[in-house]
């Protein structure tokens, strides 16, 4: 093909105009916006105090009816830096859900995966693919991608929990699928807490179960197990940044509980003060117990039980626990999204703890 440059394009402005007409742009004009030395995340560090969220949630319990209109009574934690993206971070979204006595949140399924972390109440359940999972405070319950699930409250008090989903990530990949179930409730075809009773001891598995790669065999992680593991770990090892910290894992693989959502828990000993670090993962914290302070890129969050707060990617952050009692944090993060692509990076600030 002979060299025939475009006619009538005699200068850069003409070039840019001609390019735009063809849906082209010159890299040298935009490269600095796209390729910068370090991440410049749009999401912000932010803090949702439970003292303000809980009353609003309860009011929503009075004003909004599950049967008419709302499938789920949920307030979503929207990061102010991500308008229109419906995310608490750019990959994950957290929310508070309330279900009142006798209510049922009807059955559906979707490509986004979800977790619940029980905040208040007892006597409610999630049914996941025919298995009724009973909820106790602090428990983690999974509803993996495309599993049928519904919630119900058989107690006489309100039930409050934290929802965590990978909706922003699945949306960014344009792979949202959603199916309603023909009935309000799906049939329960397995013993109550079936997976908990089969797989609770992660270092022992039923001999007839060949480990499955992808699926999550264990749907419920009891808080009592998590708290015990954190205390045992704290006796022998602490991270300088995170205190005692355990990752919830899929007992069949040793990997993350869900392919897209990392779940972890931290114990910060009373009076403990961590050293700053930063990493490319984005994080949502939920305070299970205790009081403390987290400083994110110079911004200080004093947190109390029930609070949520976020840390953006590549932002320096440090935790400290109040002196009176140990603190327990539940943690949602997107490490499993970054890890397959070699995009996890971490940096610790040199020198002694501040």
């Amino acid at each position: 093909m002979a060299i025939q440059p475009a006619d009538g394009v005699d200068n850069l402005d003409a070039l840019y105009a001609a390019a735009e007409e063809l849906s082209l742009d010159a890299l040298w004009r935009i490269a600095h916006k796209v390729l910068h030395p370090e991440p410049r995340p749009a999401m912000q560090a932010y803090h949702w105090p439970w003292s303000k969220v809980r009353p609003l949630m309860l009011r929503a319990g009075e004003l909004v009816d599950l049967e008419h209109g709302a499938e789920r009574r949920v307030l979503v934690l929207l990061n102010p830096g991500l308008p229109g993206r419906y995310g608490t971070t750019h990959t994950l979204v957290a929310a508070i859900q309330l279900i009142k006595p006798g209510e049922i949140a009807p059955t559906h399924r979707h490509t986004p995966a979800a977790i619940r972390l029980i905040i208040e109440g007892e006597g409610a359940y999630t049914t996941v693919e025919g298995e009724k999972c009973l909820m106790q405070v602090g428990d983690l319950i999974l509803t993996p991608s495309m599993t049928w699930h519904d919630h119900g409250n058989e107690s006489d008090g309100p039930m409050l929990w934290l929802d965590g989903l990978d909706v922003p990530f699945v949306r960014s990949l344009e792979t949202i699928f959603f199916d309603p179930y023909p009935d309000e409730r799906q049939p329960v075809g397995k013993p109550v807490d079936y997976s908990l009773r089969k797989y609770r001891a992660g270092h022992l598995r039923p001999s007839w179960d060949r480990p499955r790669g992808a699926g999550a065999p264990l749907l419920t992680y009891r808080w009592s197990d998590t708290a015990t593991a954190l205390r045992h770990l704290a006796e022998v090892e602490l991270s300088p940044h995170d205190g005692a910290m355990v990752e919830y894992v899929n007992p069949h693989t040793g990997g993350y509980t869900l392919p897209t959502i990392g779940c972890a828990a931290q114990l910060l000993p009373a009076g403990w003060r961590g050293r700053p670090h930063r990493h490319t993962a984005s994080v949502i914290y939920h305070v299970v117990a205790g009081h403390g302070t987290t400083v994110v890129a110079g911004q200080r969050f004093d947190w109390a039980p029930g609070d949520c707060f976020t840390v953006p990617p590549w932002s320096w952050h440090e935790h400290a626990c109040a002196p009176d009692a140990d603190a327990y944090l539940f943690v949602l993060h997107d490490e499993p999204i970054l890890a397959p692509f070699g995009l996890l990076r971490e940096e610790a600030q040199p020198g002694p703890a501040v």
Copy 2:
């Protein structure tokens, strides 16, 4: 904690206002925008004819100087449905690069991975981590994430190639890192085409090389190998949708060449007409040889050598080849991004070929 709903929030409007103040939103107001039955991709099917892109690229060769200002002389294919996102699809970006005799595109590295598919010219090279990879028309050359790379043209003619990168995906994860190299060129410490000579036969590997998981051992895939493989495959098997189609793989794992970018090639036999299908992966096509037609969700693209066009996720599409000669397509797709999360889905239209 006693039940104390928020004071003064007596109706839904007051609830929404109070929520907004706390950076909360009611899921039942936004759920329909977020969770819909099927993907509603923002990106559009689009077609960039080489007959228009090439002259503009050559003019850019006259107007833009690599040494002053532009590190790379590149025109980016911007999808009209993704303003401000610098993507050809929501995850991948393609571009045309021109390098003139004697020019050097200086050394740098970045978290986004890149591939080149050589369109025109011979006698240029990419150096990747000390290995000089010579370019021949149709060759695929990889520069994996965070590998130092520079390009040079030692021939006496212009060199044109297709760039493919995962920039939109890496940006959406807020993990862009970029490093310039202290010098224009990095030292060449290995024999020319080292990896090609070591790993070209993918079913035989040097005995002393233990297969590495992540890294891409083979940097250059010669077009002559690809064309031969396509012809051999076409003798024994054709896809009803894609004709003969081969995926470029990492010979150490059998998996995708790069963790984020799928590269493939298709041979559509002369006169062949495929049946429609759709999948959740997004695709960028580049025509290596031949003429044909692709219909994407009712929109018809008649393509010729050098053209690029895209297919959005979950869009029905079908290919046909002109009767005179076989056509060869090079294909960039984001299957490797979707696969780890169970988000790959495909659907074939039932019935005979249209």
Copy 3:
């Protein structure tokens, strides 16, 4: 090369003689010995009653001195069908070890991996690579391949345990390596029961520990955990052949605890009677608690606590528990050796339980 058959070899006998001289043999003469329709194992089903083994072991405690001569006071269970092969099965060997108060079994390491299952006593330990693992009855303690290990008894009573090793398998591969340690004891550089405290909850792992493929992160499996897991499992699921049965797994991978030795435990409910099955794995059983009967290829073993017995590959066998109390079995098997090669096969006898 022209066809020149061997001179002077005029009949089959001459051919066989000439072949033998060249260290050749005719396959058609030996094929029936080598390739038969089903396995013909050399090992035998066999039963070692604790009522006879224990007194002999205690006598050995009086007659044999750990400091002079014997590194380990161990009686090996030799399968009568495997003379000269030092195995309880063709791949695994079990033995009884006694260590008296104040004694030390000095430090060494070897390619064969080992496990201990504590039978009697409390207050002894195994130190593995600097970690002191305290022994309680029923505990499983691992000493993976090539880990330094020594045993000591700091109590005032005798300590008895079951040893299990892969010596016959490692010998069959001609890969026995053995190193003595310069001192009797290795230094203890970690907290007591370090790995137990870090990794006991298999579904939660320290966040800073990236899962390691091969190594065994958890060295001690407490019997109390195993018994609890078996009881929980028995509430929801039983194998028709094995009652409740759990496999000890590496919490970092969900796979077998050791690459060569499968460890499992069974609960046979009181009065329960299993159905016959057979498989290519060979098995060594050790009775932790309870009484029962196992019939192996028509041979009946009535077992009591402390007994050991074996089941050869591809032998029909069925278990039954006495009516008065649940029985607990500890199980050693070679499934992990067979699995990588696709050599696991299992068959259940059709029809109702006998």
Copy 4:
């Protein structure tokens, strides 16, 4: 249980006698036979000259009839150090097979896997699971575990090849299964050389084939590809011990072609002399072309085309090529058997090449 040592066992001899009666033995009496510092392999280094084997094989062609009696006309290379174990090494067996014009070696399958390396002739085939694989000199053809296979010779000359199987290893695990096929020949249901045409380019795979873990997708490896790969590799890298050496791999995994048998090929440049090393793998060499010398633990083998020789585990060995022409070796080894268990070990003799 009270301490009650065995009555009447008053000295060591009485202890040993009582133990023997119970099928027990004292470890301290046998440990030195079992656990030694380094491997003491039973197999011997050995050499089978083609000049002697071939005439005998041809005579067998005259004396032995495939239709009456022998299913396969095969002379097995029996290691003199392994009487009764039917092995060339303790894990692998090699043999020479002859099939005359018009003959058919009938269809069967078995758990042992097999490979063929074609020595002489053209125009014969192996059919594996419905795929007819045509044989050319130097080709490697696989018959994985439990695949139906039969051989036929449609040429007018004798066909000679090397068989390699994992029979000794599968026997040592007591997992031999063998099935005859109802007919002499199985139906051919795929195009000739189907897998070769689909998978020959190991770095490109049909897009619709999801990589399968275990199975061997590619059944035929053409010698021309192997020789080319060895020559390209020799241009850029040589092992000090093995010259240019490539491992045949499963293109879907990058791992060994078969789970139990490692296949490799070496090019020793004319006049090249390697340095000694040793490893725990056992090896069978077959000379494809050229002349040279291998010294194994002081024993010298001068080899010529068609010869076979073995190297036992942990034996120092060194290769040298005659000065006139490059030599090509085909190599069978048991690395894939050792690797899953961490039992691979290698040691290079320090200092310059001898």
